[in-house]
């Protein structure tokens, strides 16, 4: 196929996506800047004195607005021995404030303090392990449970969430990654101020009630993951490939750490990282930017900023040997491979992204063409250039699922053949053009959903330091030459930089315990 000019973004030749509100930009308060380069959406940036960054995009279809409040804090920032704490706090951020979810906060608080003492005593006793006194543990559990029941009398179940949902919230949720914690929802557009009222209260005055019960909920969330093959593979891959950097830890936390987390830990975590200078709020939809800024000033200006701790962690030392682990699990075979990457800020990152796409983009990608079709070894095979995160160097991931009678070993060999082939012969211009075309279409389609836009703007601003990151990356991807892709494959996808976790079913004798199919 003849080489084709890249698809221009075309935004100029269409009717405006972004409503012009008819007011001149100078109606915005001083300090607010509207993006004027037509390459980008006309996002308005504004930073409150306390450091809270606002990104606002006016966009009209039906009257809705989407919010993404993104904090640069994730599992990577959890103190040693307290993995999962970032995610635990995210759960606690749905538990109300000094005025929400409570009937009488002063009385409730007295009980919450007693609960915390009881909880800490229980943790201390249980931490003795084999030396713990079983009767004491039992008594402490009973005490904790009695106090929790007493405190329940003063709480209003789910009032914070219920109020938002009654107002019309849609997609109200949050997620925690290794890098960030994101609180998001959409609302009917005329609820802008209601969101400001409730969310500013949430982040300024959270009360971490029901902590120990919610910790049990999170332990169930962990068990749910332990029953999921993909999750088990990924947890093993992170824990094996990383030997020093905190990307080795599961986001949900290690069970033993969860058992030892106290409400005090979560409060300290909140006090350290949930500060306005660590957050970006993106607001996208049928709103007036000046009004968003006015309301944000009104409700969020009283939130105190605070210097953040260093976010420098033990750098992962260079891997020098192949790491290979087989996990026994009651599921059909599959595997994850990981290769340390140099991080998204490194000059090789764009070539690694292109490499990832050459291997697994669509049905014309090499894995599908040669391994799913072609040799027919695989049910599927995929790649991602950077997991679990982007703030620090992470892993170039390859996932493989063999198709019976083919085995993990055969598919692993098939994938290595594809990797070696890219090293030897650069990808064709057609392959790279296809990837760039797809990227550009994704950029355009990314503008369709208010929620996706809000999440992307806030996350790129807070984590990458630039809401225009996706556009910048596109320019970098266009500069990648076919030989750069081969060079990146040779440099990073090599045996000494390689970890593989395979999953196979346990041998029959170990499987017999509790396996229904084996007894009757």
């Amino acid at each position: 196929m003849k080489s084709m000019a890249l698809i221009p973004l075309l935004l100029l030749c269409c009717a405006p996506l972004y409503a012009a509100d008819g007011k001149p930009a100078d109606e915005l308060p001083p300090g607010a800047a509207r993006e004027t380069d037509a390459k980008y959406p006309p996002v308005i940036s504004y930073t409150l004195k306390n450091g809270l960054k606002l990104l606002i995009l006016e966009k009209k279809f039906v009257p809705t607005v989407s919010f993404s409040m993104t904090f640069k804090v994730g599992n990577v920032d959890c103190p040693s021995g307290k993995t999962g704490l970032a995610h635990v706090f995210e759960h606690m951020a749905f538990k109300g404030t000094k005025v929400m979810n409570t009937k009488d906060y002063p009385k409730e608080k007295a009980l919450l303090d007693q609960i915390e003492t009881a909880g800490k005593n229980l943790i201390a006793e249980e931490s003795l392990g084999a030396k713990a006194d079983p009767q004491k543990v039992k008594d402490l559990k009973q005490k904790l449970s009695d106090l929790e029941k007493a405190a329940d009398a003063y709480s209003v179940n789910a009032e914070f969430v219920s109020t938002l949902e009654k107002l019309g919230a849609n997609g109200l949720n949050a997620y925690t990654s290794v890098d960030e914690t994101v609180y998001h929802m959409s609302m009917p557009a005329d609820r802008l101020e209601a969101w400001m009222i409730l969310e500013s209260d949430r982040f300024k005055n959270p009360v971490l009630r029901e902590f120990y019960k919610e910790r049990s909920v999170i332990m169930e969330e962990r068990r749910m993951g332990e029953a999921n093959p993909g999750n088990v593979l990924f947890e093993n891959l992170s824990a094996t490939a990383f030997s020093a950097h905190p990307y080795m830890n599961p986001i949900v936390g290690w069970m033993d750490d969860l058992k030892k987390l106290s409400r005090t830990d979560a409060e300290e975590f909140y006090a350290t990282y949930y500060v306005p200078n660590n957050a970006t709020l993106a607001v996208v939809g049928d709103v007036k930017p000046a009004e968003v800024i006015r309301l944000a000033e009104k409700y969020f200006a009283g939130w105190q900023s605070k210097p953040l701790p260093s976010m420098s962690y033990t750098a992962e030392p260079e891997q020098k040997s192949e790491k290979r682990v087989n996990v026994f699990f009651n599921a059909k075979p599959s595997f994850y491979m990981g290769f340390h990457n140099p991080g998204d800020d490194h000059a090789d990152a764009p070539a690694l992204i292109m490499l990832s796409e050459v291997l697994s983009n669509g049905k014309t990608g090499r894995f599908y063409r040669n391994l799913v079709e072609g040799k027919q070894l695989a049910l599927g095979a995929g790649t991602h250039h950077a997991l679990p995160g982007n703030r620090y160097p992470s892993l170039f991931l390859v996932a493989g699922t063999p198709k019976a009678p083919h085995t993990n070993e055969e598919l692993e060999a098939g994938i290595w053949e594809e990797i070696e082939a890219v090293k030897k012969a650069p990808p064709t211009p057609w392959e790279l053009e296809k990837i760039l075309n797809n990227y550009e279409v994704e950029m355009i389609r990314g503008l369709e959903s208010n929620m996706d836009l809000a999440k992307g703007l806030a996350s790129n601003d807070r984590i990458k330091g630039d809401w225009k990151y996706n556009w910048r990356l596109l320019e970098d991807l266009k500069k990648v030459k076919p030989e750069d892709v081969s060079a990146a494959a040779a440099k990073y996808l090599k045996r000494s930089n390689y970890t593989i976790i395979t999953m196979t079913q346990p041998a029959p004798e170990t499987a017999a315990a509790g396996k229904g199919a084996d007894k009757k």
Binding site: E165, L167, S186, P188, I197, V217, N330, N437
Partner: protein, 455 residues
């Protein structure tokens, strides 16, 4: 008329008093019908240089022959992946992927869906492929083999996730072997499907009078879009389409309990009960009631099983309505050691919805959180086109969407409680995958247990 002011939170935030019920009327989408019976909903929107097409064809797995279960599911991806009269499979992949266009086809219980998205500048190329995929699939031999092998591999892997397996098997036990709503693919039924079966299934169901098209995006006018659709689909011949009857669910009453004893990190509990068909007038009350029972953070199940007892991360219930009947699913994942506490509480709450009154707070919360986010059904031009197309496709009366808010508003406490009688726990199918050695109480305490082998 009910008061949707957020009363409970007013003491905390008096400023919230001004937010009442949203006034929002469902937007309309122009409807066009071709002479061959093809109905098209078009929402022109020029904000982005993109076009979207969604086709809904009444060709779901509910229409599989009993000896060839999986026929719809095997046909759907091969419409695209198996090439067409005009395009070889490889050319479809190359052309679409180079343009960044997507064309995905998949079968569900009652329909096959075909979704296409392309840049406006590529519309003619992509639409020509899309039409040929729907009209003239070639089912290339080699591609049929790959698709079949993929389904067979998925059968081998169907019990890898216990939570998914429990949901599927509970539904299967509830509907029984004669009802296609509960069927699952089997190696024998997949191997029984020939290339000729695929072609015959396509010929029988893929007709312009048996589908609806939702179209949106960057057209100069509705007329332009319509002209392009007529050009590609106008000469497609209609034909009578015979729908096989769907028998009543096998499970008519009485509690049935099934156990798969398996060493899993977390027990999966699924409860299936009888629901109603999609167009049943009781659905509005069921919507409100099932939301009160298990629809979110504030629901009774969430509050009792998760928030108050910390027994589960995932717990909830929802109602699913199909053309010929529906079902209600209540599910939970909980550690083996506390499974009986979770199951007891689930059954208790299922019993209470039919017998205990719905409180005014619950009613207000449920209706508010159903009515006020209604606008999000229409949050993009394509969602609007699809909502309007589905309103007709699923056989709702004209105006169903327009009257939805009024209908939900009209549900009172008595109607919601009456709907709760459907959740009678004494007539539930209960399916548990868990490690019985770790169970705190034997499952037989809940009734006679049929132990099953995973297969």
């Amino acid at each position: 008329m009910i008061n949707l002011a957020v009363s409970t939170a007013l003491a905390a935030h008096p400023e919230l008093a001004k937010f009442g019920q949203i006034k929002f009327d469902a937007p309309d989408a122009p409807r066009y019908a071709l002479a061959n019976g093809l109905v098209v909903y078009i929402v022109k929107d020029n904000t982005l240089p993109v076009v979207h097409f969604s086709a809904y064809i009444k060709a779901g797995s509910a229409y599989d022959p009993a000896a060839k279960i999986g026929l719809a599911q095997l046909t759907a991806p091969l419409l695209r992946d198996g090439g067409t009269a005009k395009y070889k499979a490889e050319d479809i992949d190359k052309t679409l992927e180079y343009l960044g266009a997507t064309l995905d086809t998949g079968a569900y219980t009652e329909e096959t869906q075909a979704e296409m998205t392309a840049l406006r500048k590529d519309l003619d190329k992509a639409l020509d492929i899309y039409a040929d995929v729907l009209r003239n699939p070639a089912f290339e031999e080699e591609k049929v083999k790959i698709a079949r092998d993929e389904v067979l591999e998925l059968i081998r892997r169907r019990n890898d996730s216990p939570a998914k397996a429990a949901g599927r098997e509970a539904r299967r036990r509830f509907f029984g072997p004669a009802n296609p709503y509960g069927w699952r693919n089997e190696e024998a039924t997949i191997n029984a499907i020939t290339r000729a079966d695929l072609a015959a299934f396509h010929a029988a169901h893929f007709r312009p009078n048996n589908m609806i098209l939702a179209v949106s995006g960057d057209f100069t006018s509705d007329e332009e879009a319509l002209a392009k659709i007529k050009e590609k689909f106008g000469d497609w011949q209609p034909a009578e389409v015979i729908k096989p009857a769907v028998p009543a669910p096998d499970h008519q009453g009485g509690r049935q309990i099934y156990l798969v004893d398996k060493d899993v990190a977390q027990a999966s509990i699924v409860i299936v009960q009888k629901g109603v068909r999609r167009t049943d007038p009781a659905n509005d009350a069921i919507t409100v009631l099932s939301d009160i029972l298990g629809g979110g953070f504030q629901s009774r199940l969430f509050a009792e099983v998760r928030t108050k007892r910390g027994l589960a991360y995932s717990v909830g219930s929802y109602g699913a309505s199909l053309r010929e009947g529906g079902f209600l699913i209540t599910s939970c994942g909980t550690k083996n050691e506390t499974y009986s506490q979770a199951l007891s509480e689930m059954l208790k709450q299922l019993g209470l919805v039919g017998s205990a009154p719905v409180t005014p707070e619950e009613l207000e919360r449920s209706k508010g959180s159903t009515i006020n986010p209604f606008v999000f059904k229409f949050s993009t031009p394509h969602k609007l086109a699809v909502e309007r197309a589905l309103e007709e496709y699923y056989g709702y009366e004209k105006g169903h969407l327009d009257n939805y808010v009024k209908a939900i508003s009209a549900v009172d406490a008595a109607a919601a409680q009456a709907a709760g009688k459907l959740f009678d726990p004494s007539s539930a199918v209960i399916y548990v995958i868990g490690n019985s050695k770790k169970f705190d109480r034997p499952l037989s305490e809940f009734g006679p247990v049929t132990e099953l082998k995973e297969d």
